[in-house]
Symmetry: C2
Subunit: 590 residues, 2 copies
């Protein structure tokens, strides 16, 4: 497994994306492939040697509450300590605050292996990395020293506290309240109280401290709060205060989930004894805006975990298919002896589906990370803006396509295993359960769809989409080989242009948004079709002709079997947009 | 819930299928709707009042081995006793052997409620009912008295023992052996030894005895066995022998599954101490043929459980969507207050998908059961044969469509619940895990596909398919309303006729079979499109105009959103049949 996934990563980084170009940017001066390979080697070693061995154990033995303190499965806690002690979580943090300053693309590639090995383990780290970045980007030097440094040094992990029991995706309605108190050396101080739900890593015993970033509303002098998103503010609420004393926050309960069981998922009560001490991060009213930087990073990570788990499932399925002997192939019914099931065409098809999804999703996520590097590090403002708009358009696709399609891939991974794949003795069973979270957390697929169609296309009059279509057309014109596939992709560009024009002309934004999910699905398949053609082209130059052939066949499969689905995914939007919007209540009400 | 599912069942039985016509058949003389309603009432009561309350408990507390004896979660064991004591499992058994002689259609409808309430509980019963039928159909009077009667009287449950650790779907290769011993009053007696895997209800403490039907090969005088399917024979192997002493068979282990946890799934060792006592059922070499009667019944039951669980998930999701308040609708962004999420178009769409799948799948299974009644009870031989061929063609669709699509529906049921749906506090989480077994057991989806395309279409030169298309055309011509949908269905009939002709002409059966799964998916959607049009037509006459409107909208949804997927499901088969068959090994090998 180590080598299989790493081989894909190396190809995507160096042969496809050409990530070595990043060395030319001022922010990465002095770094080269040997540094990045060393980082990938170390991260891969810890993933496969430390985190993978406790994948099942952390599922069986869920986190538990021990006198108010959450305990994590000991082997997993130990593996996470090894990861933190190696400093791998510092990868993309700025050097001036103690980070390694590596490209986001390299860190993302390394994270893919960590997630493939143990997604529940990766959960602790990813949230802390994103939390640290918010602190270093928006915090004062004193806040960075007090709350980001301990995370960078491996002495604390961070969380994001957004949802509440009655406020899941609707964050403008949070009921957590912050009462202004005083200013001190760590910034404006408040007393905060409220309940936060679904807090991954909300407490743990891997590190001594936990740094929460909490979304709340400031209570105005007249006792009111500002309604909606513009009334939200972000607060730093550490479990242990800088002096070491316990802050006023407690774990009220743990959720018991279908999968992702190694990561504690907490209900946190803040301020039941007078109010938790909280320092404001950024300005009042900027809470959701700041949080969304973190959210976008978290969304790419959810997509990445979908890709990584799909890849691991694929790898397990193809190993199993080669070892398991059963039945005769339909292509050779007269065979005397049973064959390894990889000889059965339907098993080969299921492996090909998994390969197309897993590698396509991984490439999509690495593309997103590469765009993020351009957004953060390109010297030209115009280039940064262009890349920002493109990444912004693609983020809901990067979040949702690997999440939804990763489940399809793992469905097939289980099918290849037959009854064994349904038992808890085989990792594909757990990968399937773990992956089922992905279409939910950090914004459901439905939320991503409204983000894509509403915020990223309709509100911008389709400008980003036009830019994406131009980019795809430009790349496709210069391509060689796969002529039929290239022609199909260009036709799809025209078609999506027409659909967008139809939607922009249509008048009723609500009516379009009512059918947004099909649009997201269709765009996802379209974007991955673009990526597969690019992967096949990049592989043409690969020294191993079998490698090139492998990518060409998978690309061909994607165009033959998956691309024809695009129009039907969008059938409601294009042909029957009123069907859902005008549905009489009694049809779906109990 | 009770009323919701029962309302659909009543509509399908009486308004759509016109099941009352069965009263006119000699075998059902004297029965009428009041008898059937009383049976449905009692079964529903036990389902909702006894089996549903232990749905979660039986998942949490898996069966365990207690000194060689499997123990079942006590509440579930108690609920099963209530079911058996009420004699509900005798529904379709012949009156002359102690059964109720009810129509298969009525029993199937009742079973849907049992499965919706507690699928693991239903597992014990369904296998025993099918086992009993094999015994009464193929056994001698002495065998029926010794092994079927105890099941009918609720003192034993039956199993089917086919798979072995190295022989899952390839039953002609079983390694269990039977050595002829002697004849006694129970028939030809053998000593049997071997290991059987995946045996649901392989042991339990609900009833005193367990009657196994075991597939094995008879050892010939020269020590050889006959290779392949024609060498298989079926044996009756009771846990306790008629004299009360323990037979030579033991539970070697229990599988720990993703779901369906209430049903013990056993590895059984037969004959480790000299050979288990076994009596032959039917003739030598007839094992697989006889077993397939049972298998076909089991396959319809798998489909039924997929439909039933999808329906329960739908019902839970629509209740939740009406209670949960969050966010503003995209159709009315200016709303001041958050709305119940059922106001969000995407939530309504997800409920509509679930409704279309759950009700379409349930109707499909009831149609199958109705055909089975015709096969068994129609007075005319020609009619019986016609119905047999149609049921035989539809069986792989009835098994696989509700299994695969039921998971799609439950995926959406979880999405509607958001993060809560991913926790073990909500039944949709368990329904999803339980349902994941359906595409595997009693023949995977891939096996069903080969059965449909290879055995039911190519081997019969498409005759059954032609008969199905004629039936659909006939029904559709006489229909009123839904003109657009009817025209689409007729076009699809022409298209499937062309595809079948193309496949039959194609020459390479292997090449067609290599793409059989897409064909099965496409046929499944086509058959359910036919069913939805028929349901909408039947509902037109319903006294409640809202009920009629509900079926029309769902039918419209199916044609607008699902029917367009059919051609893309079959894209590989039609446009790129060689892609999978000619795939170079290294593309999917590790």
């Amino acid at each position: 497994m180590t080598k299989a996934l790493r081989r894909e990563i190396d190809f995507m980084l160096y042969d496809w994306l050409g990530v070595e170009r990043l060395s030319e940017l001022p922010d990465f001066e002095g770094q080269d492939r040997s540094d990045w390979d060393a980082f990938l080697d170390l991260s891969g070693e810890i993933a496969w040697n430390e985190l993978l061995p406790c994948y099942k154990a952390a599922d069986r033995e869920e986190p538990w509450l021990d006198d108010g303190q959450v305990r994590v499965q000991p082997q997993l806690a130990q593996a996470l300590r090894v990861y933190l002690d190696a400093g791998l979580h510092q990868a993309t943090a700025r050097p001036d605050v103690g980070g390694m300053g590596l490209p986001f693309t390299i860190a993302t590639a390394a994270t893919a292996e960590v997630m493939a090995a143990n997604v529940a383990g990766s959960g602790f780290i990813m949230l802390s990395v994103a939390n640290t970045r918010l602190l270093t980007d928006h915090g004062t030097p004193a806040q960075i020293a007090a709350f980001a440094r301990p995370q960078l040094e491996g002495n604390a992990l961070g969380t994001m506290c957004l949802s509440e029991p009655d406020t899941g995706s609707s964050l403008g309605d949070v009921t957590t309240r912050a009462y202004p108190e005083d200013d001190d050396e760590l910034g404006p101080r408040y007393r905060l109280s409220g309940r936060k739900m679904w807090i991954s890593g909300g407490d743990q015993d891997v590190t001594g401290n936990v740094i929460h970033l909490v979304l709340a509303k400031v209570v105005q002098p007249d006792g009111s709060v500002i309604p909606g998103a513009k009334g939200t503010t972000l607060f730093i609420v550490p479990k242990l205060l800088p002096g070491g004393e316990r802050n006023d926050l407690f774990v009220a309960g743990l959720n018991h989930k279908m999968g992702y069981r190694g990561t504690p998922n907490c209900l946190l009560n803040f301020g039941e004894n007078g109010g938790a001490t909280a320092w404001r991060l950024g300005a009042e009213g900027d809470g959701l805006r700041i949080m969304f930087d973190m959210m976008n990073e978290a969304r790419v990570n959810v997509g990445l975990s979908g890709a990584a788990m799909a890849y691991r499932g694929f790898d397990l399925a193809r190993q199993y298919a080669q070892e398991r002997v059963q039945g005769r192939s339909v292509l050779d019914r007269a065979a005397e002896r049973p064959v390894p099931i990889i000889r059965h065409p339907d098993v080969r098809r299921m492996l090909l589906v998994q390969k197309a999804i897993a590698e396509g999703a991984l490439a999509l996520c690495l593309k997103g990370a590469f765009l993020k590097d351009a957004v953060s590090h390109a010297p030209e403002e115009a280039e940064r803006r262009r890349m920002h708009d493109l990444l912004s358009l693609l983020t809901p696709v990067i979040k949702s396509w690997p999440s939804e399609q990763g489940l399809v891939a793992l469905h097939h991974a289980i099918q290849v295993h037959g009854g064994y794949g349904y038992t808890r003795d085989f990792d594909v069973e757990q990968l399937y359960r773990d992956s089922r979270l992905n279409p939910i957390h950090e914004g459901t697929t439905g939320i991503q769809a409204i983000d894509l169609l509403g915020r990223k296309i309709l509100s911008e009059k389709g400008e980003s989409l036009t830019a994406l279509l131009e980019l795809i057309r430009h790349e496709t014109r210069t391509g060689q080989g796969m002529e039929g596939e290239a022609a199909t992709l260009l036709e799809l560009c025209d078609w999506f242009e027409e659909v967008a024009a139809f939607l922009l002309r249509g008048g009723s934004k609500g009516l379009a948004l009512a059918n947004a999910t099909g649009f997201l699905e269709g765009v996802g398949h379209f974007v991955v079709a673009w990526i597969w053609l690019a992967l096949a082209r990049a592989a043409d130059a690969h020294p191993d002709p079998e490698f090139a052939e492998e990518k060409r066949w998978t690309c061909r499969y994607f165009y033959a079997a998956e691309v024809p689905r695009i129009r039907s995914m969008m059938a409601l939007l294009v042909s029957a947009p009123r069907l859902v919007a005008e549905l009489p209540d009694h049809v779906v009400s109990p």
